[in-house]
Amino acid sequence: MNGCETLIKPEAENATTEKSSHNRPTFRPSADIRELDRAYELVVDVPGATEESIELTLKADQLTVEAKVADQAFDGYQLVANGYPVGDYRRTFRVGDGINRDGIDASVKDGVLRVTVPKAEEALSQKIAVKRVD
């Protein structure tokens, strides 16, 4: 195991769903965490969520993604088969010291949230020149 994995990792959570206050489920969305050269990228599936309905909060070492999803309804139509439940999303990731807290950037497209968490300058690996001494 590489020590870098502790820099950004999901918080241990057992429950996959929980009931929120307004009596609809809150799901723990699927996520990928990818390490790039100079940043970590968090990719989270949040179908139905929009730019306005997503909240990203960084508090101490916890980065929380919360997304509200509007109920589906079609005028004059009645739900007759419930293949999947509609609910909100919430998931917390733990980030370590090796990140640039001010440089976090997020965007959503087609129900997928992408959060870029840049590595702190001091955490980036540097090549050290080896001098030849005759």
């Binding site: 990928d32 790039l36 599936d45 589906q72 139509y77 419930n82 087609d110």
Partner: protein
């Protein structure tokens, strides 16, 4: 000949429709068993609306084809990745699916609508005019 009079039971009608909708998921060669996406089904007298959560799909790769009362839906999701990327955690999967749903009616193909928005695919299908319920006037003789 004996005539049986049955009291009209709206719940029974609803139940009959539920069975029709259940058929929508069961039938077809590549139904739900193939791991196709889950659908929510909304119904009115005019037709049905089907929705499915498909985040991160390539909108251009969606194909919706209807043939009589069978609806075939294809989709593909491929996460763009670089060669040097290192996954610390991977829960989202690249997926490609082809799913055939049997509809409870033959849709009007001219009017079928498909929309992909915020990662949700919505299909609107109308019953063809010949299949729409008609009221028949009763004349007083």
């Amino acid at each position: 000949m004996a005539t049986t009079v049955t009291r009209w039971n709206p719940w029974q009608e609803l139940e009959a429709f539920r069975r029709e909708v259940d058929g929508l998921f069961r039938s077809g060669e590549t139904g739900r068993r193939s791991g196709g996406p889950a659908w929510n089904v909304y119904r009115s007298e005019e037709g049905v609306v089907l929705t499915s959560e498909l985040p991160g799909y390539d909108p251009d790769a969606f194909e919706v084809e209807s043939k009589r009362d069978a609806l075939t839906i294809r989709g593909r999701r491929v996460e763009p990745t670089g060669d040097d990327d290192r996954f610390l955690r991977r829960e989202r999967r690249d997926r490609e699916f082809e799913q055939t749903l049997k509809l409870p009616f033959v849709p009007d193909t001219e009017k079928t609508e498909a929309e992909y928005r915020h990662g949700i695919l919505t299909l609107k299908l109308w019953r063809s005019p010949a299949e729409q319920p008609r009221k028949i006037a009763v004349k007083t003789v």
